[in-house]
Amino acid sequence: MNNALETIKVRKEYGDVEVEVVAVDDVSIQIQPGEFVGLVGPSGSGKTSMLAMLAGLLSPTSGGIRIDGQAVEGMSDKELTRFRRQKIGFTFQANNLIPYLTALENVEMMLRLNGTLDKKGKARAKTLLDRLGLSDRLSNLPSQLSGGQQQRVAIARALIHDPSLVLADEPTASLDTERAYQVVETFANLIHEQKRAGIMVTHDLRMTKYVDRVIKMVDGQVVEELNDSKSIAALAAGTDREQTKTNGKAEAKTTKMDFSAQQLNYAAAGGD
C-alpha cells in the first residue's frame, strides 16, 4: 500500500551553535490513507515542530518528508503555499476560523483558494457541515458559535478539499471533555470514511480513544507506538500503568497539568 505520509529520519534543530535544541531527532514514520494517528508526548517533546514540518510550515534541518510520494523538503515558499492549500487540511488550537466569514464561507474558503469552488463544491460544503451537526449554523459568524462548533467548522474546512494529509493541532484544547470526545469521534469517522491520513497532536491522552495508532514522542524521539486497539483503549482510559512503568506517575501528572495549563492559556488569550 502507498503511504500517504512518510518521514525519513526527519530532524529539526533550533538555535545557534552554543545553545542547540534538537526538537525532532531523526524521526521516521509512515501513515496510510484512512489511518488516524494520535501524536502524544509531554510538553517540549517536539510534537508541534513535527507537525509544522509535515505541514510544510517549517523546513527540516535534515531528513525527508514524502506526502503522496512528493518530497516536501526543498520546495520553495511559493510551492509550499500551493502544496498546503492543495494537500493539507488544518485545524488549529486558536485563530481557527476567519472571523468575518460565516461557517459555510469558512469551509468554502479552501475551495476558493484552490479555485475549485463551484455548485458541487458548495453542496459538498453544506453536506459536510450537516454531517458535523451544523446545518442550522451555516450563516453564523464564528463569534456566534461555541468553541466546539468552531472546531467542527474547522474540521469541515480541513476535509473539504480532499487533502492527502489532515493535521489537527490540539483540536480539543478549548473544549470540555464531553464536547472534546464528540469532536474527536466525528473527526475520526470522517477520516476513516474519506480515506485521509490524519494526525492529531494532543496533550490529553483520553483523546486517543478514537485513534488507530498512537505515536508517543519524548525529547524529539519516538519512544513508543501503540497499534492494537486494546492498549490504545487502556492508554485512553488511564489504565496503562505497565506501559509507562518508567515514569508513569510523573507522566500522568504532567499530562493533567498540561491540559489545564492549556485551557488557562487559551482563556487568557481572550479567545481572539
Partner: protein, 381 residues
C-alpha cells in the same frame, strides 16, 4: 479572492470601517476647505492683476515691485510707448473708497482702480458698456458685487473717500458691469484715470499737472519675448522696473505669506491624514496577526493577503473622500455669499488625488506588517 476577503471584512465590520471613513471624510472636508480658502483669498487679492490684458507690469524703480509704494506718471508712459515691441499700454492707479447709499443699504467698500479707457487695465464688460472718456464721471463695477448691493447699469452711485482729514463725496454713473475683479480683498470699481485722480484719497495741495498712477500695464507684440522686453524697458526708460504677472502677483501685499500659510496647513492636514490611516490600519493588522498567520498556513499566497489589505485601505479611503467631498459640496452650497471660498476645479482635483493617496501611503506600514507575518504563527511556534 483578495477582493472577496477585503469586501467581506469591511462588510461584516461596517460600524468600525464606517467610523473610520468618517474620520477620512472630515479630513477631506478640512483639506478641501483650506484649498478653497486659498483659492478664494488668492483671488480676492490678485484677481484684477491676474485678469489684466497685459504681459508686463512696470513699477517705479527701487520699490521692490511693491505696487502701493510705486509712483509712475505719464512721462514714463510715453517713454515706454516708443519702444519697439510694445503693442499697447495703460497707466493704472489703485486707491480705495466706499460706495454709500442714502436709503439705508449697507455701505460697500471697494478698490478704486483708475484706468485709461480702451487701454490695458479695463475689465471685460458683461452688461452695459465700457468707460467712455478719460474724464467721464463713470464707473464700472463687478456684476456680482453690484447685484448683491442692488446696483444696476444706469444707477448713480456716491463714492466716499477721505481727502486729508475730510470725507468727500463724488457721484458717478454706473455705465457697465464687469467680470469679477477683486483687488486687495475688495471688489474693484474701475473708473477713468483723471476722475480717479480727482476723487482718490490724497493729501491736499499735492496735485501736479500730470496724473501719477502706480503701475503701467504693457502688452507686448510678441509675448514670448517677455525677458527681452523686460530688460529693454529697464534699459531705455529711467527709474523703472518691469515684472511679469506671476512675479507681480507674488509681490502683492500679503499674498505670499497668506498662500504659504495655507499650503503649510494643507500639508499638515495631509500629514495627519497619513498618520491616522497608518495608525488605524497598523493597529488593525497587529490585532490580526494570528488570523493572517492562519490564512497563510492554509495556503493563502502573500500576494492575496497584501492585495486584500491594500484594497481595503483604498476602499475605506475612497469612501471617506467621497463622503467628505459630498459633505463639502453641501456645505459650500449653504455658505453665505461674500466668503472668500472658491472651489476651483484644478485645486479640488489635486486635493482629492492627494487625499486618495494618503490611504495607500499610510497603509504601507500595515501591508508590510501583514506580509511579514509567518504562517508558523498559526500553530504558535
Amino acid at each position: 479572492m483578495a477582493f472577496y476577503l477585503a469586501f467581506k471584512e469591511v462588510w461584516r465590520n461596517k460600524g468600525r470601517f464606517l467610523t473610520f471613513s468618517m474620520v477620512i471624510a472630515l479630513i477631506t472636508v478640512l483639506v478641501l476647505f483650506i484649498a478653497a480658502l486659498a483659492t478664494g483669498l488668492a483671488n480676492a487679492n490678485k484677481q484684477y492683476i491676474d485678469n489684466l490684458d497685459a504681459d508686463l507690469l512696470v513699477y517705479q524703480e527701487n520699490v521692490d515691485i511693491q505696487l502701493t509704494s510705486s509712483r509712475i506718471g505719464e512721462s514714463r508712459l510715453n517713454d515706454i510707448r516708443r519702444l519697439n515691441g510694445v503693442a499697447d499700454l495703460g497707466l493704472i492707479g489703485f486707491a480705495s473708497g466706499t460706495i454709500v447709499f442714502t436709503d439705508g443699504r449697507e455701505e460697500l467698500d471697494i478698490s478704486l482702480i483708475g484706468v485709461q479707457p480702451g487701454k490695458p487695465g479695463e475689465p471685460a464688460i458683461l452688461a452695459g458698456q465700457g468707460l467712455r472718456s478719460v474724464r467721464a464721471d463713470e464707473i464700472v463695477l463687478p456684476q456680482e458685487d453690484a447685484q448683491r448691493a442692488g446696483i444696476k447699469v444706469g444707477d448713480q452711485v456716491t463714492i466716499k473717500t477721505i481727502q486729508g482729514t475730510e470725507e468727500e463725496f463724488f457721484d458717478l454713473l454706473v455705465v457697465g458691469l464687469s467680470t469679477p475683479q477683486q483687488y486687495f480683498f475688495q471688489p474693484g470699481g474701475v473708473l477713468p484715470l483723471e476722475t480717479w485722480d480727482e476723487i482718490r484719497p490724497q493729501a491736499p495741495g499735492s496735485g501736479t499737472d500730470q496724473v501719477i498712477g502706480n503701475i503701467i500695464a504693457v502688452k507686448l507684440e510678441d509675448p514670448a519675448l517677455l525677458e527681452l522686453m523686460s530688460s529693454r524697458i529697464e534699459q531705455y526708460v529711467n527709474d523703472v522696473e518691469a515684472a511679469d504677472k506671476p512675479t507681480a502677483i507674488l509681490a502683492l501685499p500679503g499674498y505670499s505669506a497668506q498662500q504659504s500659510t495655507l499650503s503649510t496647513q494643507q500639508f499638515f492636514t495631509f500629514f495627519i491624514g497619513v498618520l491616522v490611516v497608518g495608525g488605524f490600519f497598523q493597529i488593525q493588522t497587529l490585532q490580526k496577526v494570528g488570523q493572517i498567520g492562519m490564512l497563510k498556513a492554509i495556503g493563502t499566497p502573500n500576494r492575496i493577503v497584501a492585495s486584500a489589505s491594500l484594497l481595503q485601505i483604498i476602499f475605506v479611503t475612497a469612501f471617506g473622500v467621497f463622503i467628505g467631498g459630498a459633505g463639502t459640496l453641501l456645505l459650500a452650497l449653504s455658505m453665505p455669499a461674500g466668503i472668500p471660498i472658491v472651489f476651483s476645479g484644478a485645486a479640488v482635483i489635486a486635493s482629492i488625488a492627494a487625499l486618495l493617496l494618503i490611504g495607500p501611503m499610510g497603509g504601507l506600514v500595515a501591508i508590510r506588517l501583514a506580509l511579514r507575518v509567518e504562517p508558523l504563527n498559526a500553530i504558535g511556534l
